[in-house]
Structures are given as C-alpha cells and as structure tokens.
C-alpha cells in the first residue's frame, strides 16, 4: 500500500478551502444584478386560498416582482413528481396528487409556499413578503398517520388519504409458520419523525441568459443531473440542453438534498421572468417546514420462534406517513428500501410485510440517512432482543443461532445477500466492548444508584444503489448506474469527472487515491470534478452509500480503457507489440526487456501523435464508462451500546459505544471512521433526543433549533470503531459502502440498552429523561423516587 493509495488514511484534499473559509457554497456565489427571493408561506396546515392581494407588497421600495401560484400555472410550469411507482396489493397505481411549486388553490401543510417576493435586497424582500395579504379559508387537518382514513380528504385523487396499500411476501406461508410457533414476540413501534437539519440550509440561485436562452441553477443538491432531468422533462422549465445545474460545495445532505423542491423551480421561473438572477436561501425556521422530513412509521411487528429460538417467520404491518405531497423518492423508502431488509442478518424462512402509505397535512417525508433501512433494522433488532429476553436466551447467542452462515443467501424479501461474516463482526464487537466484564460493571454501577444496560444491534443494509434493471422492475423511474470520465492531460495529470456528488464524504480525496494507486502517479496530480451538468455529462448523484461501490467502479472501468489505450501508444513509442507492453507503477515496459516509457511520456505522445498515424490509433487519452452494478452490496456489522440510567431522573448516559462494521474494501480508513461516527450520532439523536412534533392543528411545535433537540458534543460519547472485511463480490474494488451504517445500526442498540437497564420494553423514541423516568415508574412503581 502506497502512502496515498487504496487503504491509506490520506488527509483530505478538500479541507484546505474549508478550514480557511474559502469554500464556495451556493449562498456564497454572487452574480451581477442578483436579486433576493423570499417566499410567502402558509400558516395553516390545510386551507383554501380564496384570494391573494400583492398590491401593497409591490409598491414597496426595491421590489422587482411578486409572483403567485396562479401566474405559475398560467405560465404552464409543471408539477413536481415522485419518481418511483408503487402499486397497491390490488394492482392499482399509487395516488400521486398534484404538487405545484406554488400552491394556487389550496395549501396542504404549514410552510407550503403560495407566493414569492423578489427584491433588490433580502431585507426589502422580507419586508414586502410581510405585506402580501393571503385570504385563507381554514380546513380541518389530518395529522396523525394512524387516523388518516377517517379524516378529511386532502387530495381529490386519494380517497381516505391512502397513497398505496402495498405488501411483500407470502402471507399464507407466514400465517402457517406462526400457527406452529412455540413462541411469538409482538411489538408496537413508532419510528419517530426526524428533521434532517444539514447545517447548510437549502439554497438556489438561478440566472437566465436571454441571448442564448440558457438557464443556470446553483443549488444545494446531492444529484444535479437528476434535478436537471426532472426540472426539464417534468416541470418543463427549459429543455435539458438549455439548463445547467451546478451543485458547488454542499454543506451536508443526509438525503434531504436529493429531492427536487419548489424553491429551485420558482427561482428559475422568476429569473427568466424578470431577467435578473434570483437567489433564495432558507432560514432555519423555513428549513424545518420545507425540507423533507424522515422516518415517521407506525408499526406492529411479530416474530415467530421454535422452542430452540430458531426464527420461523416475521409479520410486519406499517403505516408510513408521507406528508402532504409525494416527494421525489418518498414512495420507495417505506417499501423497497424497508421491507426488503426485514430479514436482517438472519435466516428467516418466511416474512410478510404490509405497508400503507398515507397523506397528512405535514411536510413531505422522504429519504433521510439510511432511508427505510434504519426503520427495518429497528423492527428486526428490537424483535430479536425482546424475544431473547422473553425466552431467557442470551441476546448474542440468539443472534448467533439465527445468523445466515452461507452465501449467496436468498431472503424471502427479494434480496440475495452475496457475502458476509456476521459471526466475525459480532465476535470482534463482543471483545472490543468487553461484554464479559459487563456484569461486574453493572454491579458497580448499581452501588452508585445507576442502572446499567447493554444493547446489541446486528444490522444489515443494502447499498451500492443499484442495478438499473432490478430497480426498474420494482418501479424506479431512473437507472441507478454511475458514470466516470477520465481525462489524461498531455502533461500526465488527470481529471476525473464523476456523476456522484460529495457533500462531506471526501470524494476528492478517495477517488484520487484510486487513480493514484492504479496509474502510479502522484495523488496531487489528480483532480476530481463533480457537481456541474456542463462538465459531467450525466450521473445519478450521491445517496444510499453508492459513491464508492458504484461511482468508483465506473472510474475503475474507465481506467481500464485508459490503460488499454495508453498501452497502444506505448507500443508505438517503444516499437513493440501491444501485447508485450506491461504497465506497472506508472511505467510501460516491453516485457523481458529494459525498454520502458514513463507515464508522462506516454500521455504526451498520445496528444502529439508523432509516433503513430491517426488512422490506426486516434490521438488523445480520454475514456468514459457507465457502470451498472450487478447486485446491491450488503454492509453489515454489530454495534453494542452500554448505558447508565439515573434511577431518579431517567437521564441516560451512553458510557460505551462499540461499532464493528464490514464495509468490504476500505479506501480511506480515516474517512470511513468519520462516516461511522456521524451516522451513529444521528442514530443516537433519533433514539435519545430528536422528534418532529406536530400539534393537532398541524403546527410544527419543534420548528427551530431551540425546540428540536439536535445532538450536541456533550450529548455523545467517543466511539470505539473496528472493522471486519468480506469483499463485495459484485464490484471490482470489493467496496460495500459506509455512509449510512451508523444511522441504521444505532437506534436499536440504544433502545435495547436502555430497556435492558430499566427492565421494561415499553419505551418510545426519543428516550428523553422524562420518557425513561415514566417508563421506570410504570415498571417499578414501588421504587419511585
């Protein structure tokens, strides 16, 4: 392994600009003549728009335009769409309601945009937005996802507010297995609604060039090409070739910046209308009521076991709240990203899952770090832990008894796991966490009046999203391959254009490690280009831990072509047969001789083309590849959480965290560990602190960082992180992906630990001090403080 090759903890290329304040985020970009947009948003969860009076706002200084949903409709700007078709059990397609970028007739959630004010300065736009007078007729709202069927209907297309009633698996076979079970564990679970809260708020800056008819959009997006495709082909803003989307530095995404939102559409439309650039940047309060939220499941789950604790079957019924409109990929999250992972790391012969997706008068819900897989893992790992306790089997032992041990393994819920060693990660985690010493620590804690508990989560996820044919057959509207273009310059330096997008993941470093490793050239001589549809021809962006497994595989394929072409050039230079050229450590050698050409000489010769005629070999050294994966990848591992609960206050302290993950090949262990830390923090946030709360009228009670509890440094422990490795057989580098594992594994580990400490399974997330204290009082009333 070289100092900058695959496997090295190389310090990041991108850091210099960030630690010196030289990053370029969307809000940092400024265009000549730029105006600022402020949106007028609904204060009601559900209301008819009777009239909008913009005259007072228009008369204020600096105001350039005040535009409403009626004008948007008049200009034939199309609706936003959900790109994944799900069919109900009865074969009917999902009920996708119209989602205009500005509401014209009615609003469906607090924060729904009804008008936009464009002015010379932000302050002027904000002042004027206050003067837009909207006459609403408030309607009763539907908030509780478990009570949508009897509530007022939000959208004409969706009777009983039902989007789809979907199922996966063989219900009859599952019923049969349950009938023969020795033991059945049952749980009711609420997977709490979360707000992603990337620290950079969403922003959009649109510019129109009247001379060429081109529109340019700088946007906080994880996938600029998908954004361009949807805005061109569905919204109809401009033809695809006349729309450029640039995603510059993006300050965190966690899924919430995958989606195509109303604001970028409106900025583009307004910029063309007024002939000046239009910039919008969300303030945090606005983010809370417009960024797609995550999770929000209500679930009943059952696990059937035989007398030895062998799993026989699982039955799951989930209501998934998708909010007021169907966001870009919302339909896939509680279905194919959820039910397909219900087998966990276990050999479960039969699984049946039903999911009802419903509309409510709340912000749309879509993918948030893990997307469906944290919800599935929470169901599986809570069921397993509770079953172990009910049957008085050690939870680690029950897991071992049911682990899948041979591969490939076909689960009853679509997925075919291709590689893994679940015992290895469990064993290593038990060691690192010193589980043997736990009882001693528990007794010691008890002497201090603390309740100590231990919780496991042996999770699996499906990453490397995804084989295009497979997702296409399941309803996905796009292919999920990835592209790479490798440009070798005449001086031998290399630019790689990738269709993935980095917003914290460090691709500029890890992708350069791959190229440096493969071509034997200095790491410094490689640049990674991403996030601009005018530079990168097409790509699917970054989410679902796909950039390593899919994006880097595309680079490998392009590098294969580069090497093949470079060998041809070298053969001409060295006057040898192409088949005799060996490429190693940045040098082309004629096999069995000392004749060689350096990488830089070959690159130069490819361009000056003096040594070969253009008819036999094209000049230049640039290759493109589109890589379509053959399977998902299956990162898996074991997280162990150890807590101490204060009996008097219910306050939980995480005293030990151990994570052992199998991500396949690790390109940069420093970056991988960082991804694990961040994911765990978000999972602990879900388990202990975070919950988006709506009141019965649809007001978001937790609508600011003062009310929504984000994890702070003092809420979290340091983490012990270890790795095991089985290569992913489906891609050339053996990478499985690491971005979401922490968020997927951790909530179950935390709740398993607290319930172990307090001796009751009835514990909701987030397990705040109050929630834990109340659970303690229910479980041990005699010990009330």
């Amino acid at each position: 392994m070289s100092a900058t090759g695959i496997g090295a903890a190389v310090r990041r290329k991108e850091d210099l600009r960030f630690i010196t304040g030289k990053g370029q985020y969307t809000d940092d970009v400024i265009r000549p003549g730029e105006t600022r947009a402020v949106f007028v948003r609904s204060p009601h969860a559900h209301a008819k728009i009777k009239a909008i009076d913009t005259s007072a706002a228009k008369s204020l200084p600096g105001v350039v335009a005040v535009l409403t949903g009626k004008e948007l409709a008049n200009d034939k700007i199309g609706n936003l769409i959900c790109g994944w078709m799900i069919h109900s059990k009865d074969g009917t397609p999902m009920k996708m309601a119209p989602h205009p970028a500005l509401a014209a007739d009615k609003v469906c959630h607090v924060g729904d945009a009804v008008a936009v004010v464009v002015a010379s300065t932000y302050a002027q736009a904000r002042d004027a937005a206050e003067k837009v007078n909207v006459d609403y007729e408030a309607l009763p709202a539907v908030i509780d996802p478990a009570k949508t069927k009897s509530g007022p209907q939000i959208h004409e297309v969706a009777p009983k507010n039902t989007i789809y009633e979907w199922s996966l698996g063989d219900a009859k076979a599952v019923d049969g297995a349950f009938a023969n079970a020795k033991h059945v564990t049952k749980l009711d679970i609420i997977n709490n609604r979360l707000v992603p809260n990337a620290i950079e708020p969403r922003a959009a800056l649109a510019e129109y060039d009247a001379g060429t008819g081109h529109l340019t959009l700088w946007n906080t997006t994880q996938n600029p090409h998908v954004s361009r495709l949807v805005i061109a082909a569905f919204v109809g803003m401009a033809p695809e070739h006349k729309l450029r989307v640039i995603a510059p530095d993006v300050g965190g995404g966690f899924g919430s910046k995958i989606f195509i939102y109303p604001e970028e559409v409106v900025c583009l439309w307004a910029a063309r209308k007024i002939g000046r650039p239009v910039k919008w940047t969300a303030d945090r309060s606005e983010s809370f009521v417009t960024d797609a939220h995550g999770r929000d499941h209500v679930t009943h789950a059952e696990l059937a076991l035989d007398a030895n604790g062998k799993f026989l079957a699982m039955r799951v019924k989930t209501i998934a709240n998708l909010g007021a409109y169907m966001s870009t990929f919302s339909s896939s999250v509680p279905t194919y990203l959820y039910a397909t992972l219900l087998s966990g790391q276990y050999d479960i012969p039969q699984i049946y899952c039903e999911v009802d997706a419903v509309y409510t008068n709340t912000v749309p819900v879509d993918a948030y770090r893990g997307a469906g897989r944290p919800e599935a893992t929470f169901v599986v790992e809570r069921l397993v832990e509770v079953a172990a306790r009910e049957m008085a089997i050690d939870p680690a032992d029950l897991r071992k008894r049911n682990f899948i041990k041979s591969f490939p393994h076909q689960t009853p819920v679509i997925m075919a796991y291709d590689a893994g060693d679940y015992n290895a990660s469990l064993r290593k985690a038990l060691d690192l966490a010193d589980v043997k010493g736990f009882n001693k620590r528990k007794r010691e804690a008890a002497r201090r009046g603390k309740l100590r508990g231990l919780g496991y989560s042996t999770y699996i996820e499906a990453c490397g999203i995804a084989p295009s044919q497979a997702v296409g057959s399941l309803g996905c509207g796009v292919g999920l391959w990835e592209s790479a273009e490798v440009r070798v310059n005449p001086t031998g330096s290399v630019e790689v254009l990738t269709g993935t997008h980095a917003h914290g993941q460090g691709h500029e470093t890890t992708f350069a490690q791959l190229v440096s490793d493969r071509l034997g050239i200095p790491f410094e001589n490689v640049s990674i280009v991403h996030g601009d549809t005018d530079k990168v021809q097409f790509g699917m962006g970054t989410y679902g831990s796909r950039s390593g497994a899919v994006g880097m595989s595309a680079i490998v394929k392009a590098l294969d072509k580069i090497e093949a072409k470079a060998k041809k050039v070298a053969a001409h230079m060295l006057e040898a047969a192409e088949g005799d050229i060996v490429f190693k450590d940045g040098k082309f050698t004629v096999a069995g001789t000392d004749k060689s050409a350096a990488w830089g000489d070959v690159a130069l010769n490819a361009y000056i083309a003096h040594k070969f005629a253009g008819q036999e070999l094209e000049p230049g050294l640039k290759e493109t590849s589109f890589y379509d994966p053959t399977n998902f990848t299956f990162p898996a591992g074991c997280h162990i959480c150890e807590v101490e609960v204060d009996r008097d206050t219910g306050k939980t302290e995480i005293v030990n965290w151990t994570a052992v993950d199998d991500f396949g090949t690790v390109v940069n262990p420093m970056i991988v560990e960082g991804q694990v830390h961040g994911g765990i923090a978000q999972g602990i946030g879900q388990a202990l602190l975070e919950r988006a709360v709506y009141d019965q009228d649809g007001q978001l009670v937790t609508g600011s960082l003062m009310d929504y509890c984000m994890p702070h440094a003092h809420d979290l422990p340091s983490f012990k992180v270890g790795l095991t490795e089985t290569k992913a057989p489906s891609n050339p580098l053996g990478i499985k992906g690491c971005g979401e594992a922490g968020a997927i594994a951790s909530p179950a580990a935390v709740i398993n630990a607290i319930t172990d400490a307090i001796g009751t399974e009835e514990l909701a997330m987030p397990a705040t001090s109050q929630v834990v204290w109340a659970a303690l009082m229910r479980a041990q009333p005699s010990q009330a403080a």
Partner: protein, 165 residues
C-alpha cells in the same frame, strides 16, 4: 443609512448599513468574507462565530453598528495568506475534524475561544461541554473533540496567539 467603521482581519473597513444589518450580513455581503456562515436563525448552531475584540461572538446575533471601532477576526484572518495555517486549522485537517465544512469556520473560531478561556490542556469532558454553542451534523463530534485537544496543545508549543487579534 448610518456609517460604521471597524477593523476586520487587520484591515480598516467602513460601510453604510441599515441599523438592522447583522454583523454576519455585513461580513458576507458587504465585505464578501463568505467563510462566516449562517446555519440557523436562533443563535444555536454557531456556524457564524467570529472574534470581536478577541472574544468569540455569534455574528448572526450581533448588529453591525455594535461593532463600531471593534477589531473583528474571521476565519479568513486566522492565518497569513502566505504563511502557515493556524495550529487549530491544521489540527482540524490532521484529525479529520470536518466533513462538509459548513460548521467548520465557526467550530475553529469557537475552539480558539475555549483555549483562551480554559488553556491549552483540555480534557474531553471540558471540550464537549464548552462546545455547547456549536452544532455539527456530520462528524458526531468525535474527531472535532480530538482536533481541538490537539490544536490547543500545538498552540502552546508554537506560541500561537490564542485568539488572533
């Protein structure tokens, strides 16, 4: 509009601003110093932390006119453009204390203030408690805590200014 003058990163600057203009707006929009970020509107996230007369402050909750005559340091002013990085900047890079980079300028400016108040030998508990005014969504803080401890130590060694003036 009232006029204002102050020193920013060692250079005298003046401007005419509305009375309601926040320091962060003045820095970002008037002076084009976009390293200071805005991540919230309730003074929680700390992406906007700068130093006013050597003390950390949230530029999103400070009026520009309050800074008349003050010496302001932003992330851009921490290291000489031609010189080495400040040890705290270097520590964040060395310990992978950043991912998306958006909270980073505020984190580094806040970290320097922790050193000013608590010295160069910082334990994990102190750092975690003292970082209450800054939120990071990417790192889980693990590496930020390591970076601040190491940066504080490196500052003692190099004799770096605790808070740039």
């Amino acid at each position: 509009m009232p006029g204002v003058s102050m020193t920013v990163n060692g250079k005298p600057v003046t401007g005419d601003v509305e009375a309601r203009t926040l320091l962060v707006q003045f820095l970002r929009e008037n002076l084009r110093l976009t390293g200071t970020h805005v991540g919230c509107d309730t003074s929680q996230c700390g992406a906007c932390v700068v130093h006013i007369d050597g003390i950390a402050a949230k530029a999103c909750t400070t009026l520009t006119l309050q800074c008349e005559g003050a010496k302001i340091t932003t992330i851009e002013g921490l290291a000489d453009p031609d010189g080495p990085l400040h040890p705290m900047q270097e520590a964040f890079r060395e310990h992978h204390g950043l991912q998306c980079g958006f909270c980073t300028p505020g984190m580094i400016m806040a970290a320097l203030d922790i050193v000013r108040r608590r010295g160069n030998d910082l334990d994990e508990h102190t750092i975690r408690e003292q970082l209450d005014g800054n939120i990071c969504r990417c790192t889980g803080y693990h590496n930020i805590v390591k970076a601040i401890a190491a940066g504080a130590k490196a500052m003692a060694k190099s004799g770096a200014r605790q808070a740039a003036e």
